[in-house]
């Protein structure tokens, strides 16, 4: 059952997967950005080009303080996760169909293609996070997060949520065309209910309890707790968030595997 003796054991299998995901990532950069262009630099620049003008505009409209905290760090820590969610989700719609040609090579699995894409988007997003921080820090618009470990944990959960959601969206979109139709309005509404614009503390208690069922709202609470420290009251619960995301990831992996059955390859 092996391919030239490889993949026989778990570790060799892992070595093959690492190589395949690496090759796919490079290929994705070539096909998306061309060889002569900025290449990987563009992956970082893309979120920045989105984020920087929007953030400045918001600050201009909304003033520098709201609910007693500065607007710029609040928006900065909120908008980068939104970009990751939208870009990863948008790129993953019908991705099995779109990459069916790669499945001709039996070493390439759907999960490998997914991972390559996730690595690229997450890598670009984190680099953009750092670059935008450096930029805003230099002009005095944001400060170093008060509680760095909390900020890292929150952002880690946010990345995990985006990856789990992408698995689910990618798997479902192969089954039904509805998913691609719903994605656009959903990704806009996500702006409103995700926690980008609010802290759980600002909500009435009944609504707050509902909002905190959402793992991304939990992640936002932790990110904001990290950025502002004890100045604000936050409700992040890492154990609940990790458990919910683990369940969503398993559902996503299952949907992705099932999704392959719905794909007819040319």
């Amino acid at each position: 059952m092996s391919e030239a003796g490889e993949g026989a054991t778990f570790w060799r299998g892992l070595a093959v997967q690492k190589r395949v995901v690496g090759a796919l990532t490079i290929r994705e950069i070539y096909t998306r950005f061309g060889r002569e262009n900025l290449g990987f630099a563009w992956i970082v620049a893309e979120p920045l080009v989105f984020a920087v003008p929007v953030l400045f505009m918001w600050q201009a409209i909304r003033g520098s303080h709201e609910h007693g905290i500065s607007v710029m760090p609040f928006l900065w820590s909120g908008y980068l996760p939104i970009l990751l969610f939208r870009h990863l989700g948008g790129r993953i719609l019908l991705f099995i169909r779109g990459n069916a040609g790669l499945l001709y090579h039996r070493r390439v699995s759907i999960l490998d293609i997914f991972l390559a894409r996730a690595v690229l988007e997450v890598g670009g997003n984190v680099t953009a996070l750092i670059a935008s921080f450096a930029l805003f820090y230099a002009i005095g618009a944001v400060d170093v997060p008060q509680d760095l470990p909390m900020f890292y944990v929150g952002y880690f959960f946010m990345i995990w949520w985006c990856v789990a959601a992408a698995l689910i969206i990618g798997g479902l979109s192969e089954r039904s065309d509805w998913v691609a139709q719903i994605w656009m309005p959903y990704s806009y509404m996500y702006l409103v209910f995700s926690g980008f614009f609010y802290l759980a503390d600002w909500l009435p208690p009944a609504l707050r309890n509902v909002a905190l069922y959402q793992p991304y709202t939990q992640a936002y609470e932790m990110i904001r707790g990290g950025v502002f420290g004890s100045v604000i009251k936050t409700y992040g619960d890492p154990a609940y968030t990790a458990f919910t995301l683990a369940v969503l990831t398993l559902i996503g992996l299952w949907l992705m595997r099932e999704g392959r059955k719905y794909v007819v390859i040319e």
Binding site: M1, R19, I26, R27, Y30, R106, K261
Partner: protein
């Protein structure tokens, strides 16, 4: 060895109906054996190739193998059309863990594509694609080659060299060859699987198999 047991493949058609393309197809191919797959258009030859290459999964039944199989070498699939020949070579060299320089030199020699290697694969003609795919799979070096029509797409010189590679230099390699062309089947294969209306039957007598195929 490759052993296919009771392989079935269904596709959904309009109105939730199911179209059974392959129905309980069984056969074995031993190391070094070269088997033809004969059948009219739509008989399920390419579907069978894709199942053997695990591009798609059978609805039921099993395919076991102890040999390494190439991807189905056909007129489509396996390459990224917008990337150049060289970039496709690089990608495939990476996933199969072969040195790019060796792969590139081999393909350059066998496929004789010259400077076309630095052009996007989508600009290649049918014959060029056939040469490119076949040369690349020879360079990666599999135990068994799944060939879907492409030998017939190449010119005489390519056919002669393919024959040389598969029989003189690599006589121990297996091959499963889907083709409509009687001469090619006779030149390459010792047995034939005839597909008709989803059913498959293996014939050890090539002449008989070709007669049956011609009368379908």
């Amino acid at each position: 060895m490759i052993r296919a047991i009771d392989v079935c493949k269904d596709y959904r058609t309009e109105g939730r109906r199911v179209h059974r393309v392959l129905s309980n197809v069984s056969f074995t191919v031993a190391r070094g054996e070269k088997m033809a797959v004969l059948g009219r258009n739509g008989a399920g030859k390419s579907t069978l190739m894709r199942l053997l290459g695990r591009v798609e999964l059978p609805t039921s039944g099993s395919i076991d193998q102890t040999m390494s199989l190439s991807w189905p070498l056909g007129l489509q699939g396996g390459f990224q059309g917008s990337l150049t020949g060289n970039d496709n070579l690089r990608f495939i060299a990476r996933i199969y863990n072969k040195p790019f320089d060796y792969i590139r030199a081999y393909v350059d020699d066998f496929a004789e594509l010259g400077k076309y290697l630095s052009e996007p694969v989508k600009t290649y003609s049918m014959g060029m694609r056939a040469r490119f795919a076949f040369a690349l799979s020879l360079a990666v070096d599999f135990d068994c080659y799944l060939i879907d029509e492409i030998i017939a797409a190449g010119d005489q010189r390519f056919q002669r060299r393919s024959h040389e590679e598969l029989f003189e230099k690599r006589g121990d390699r297996s091959m499963i060859l889907a083709s409509h062309v009687g001469e090619i089947v006779r030149a390459y294969c010792s047995r034939a699987l005839v597909l008709h209306r989803g059913r498959g039957k293996v014939f050890a007598d090539l002449d008989l198999a070709l007669d049956i195929y011609n009368s379908l």
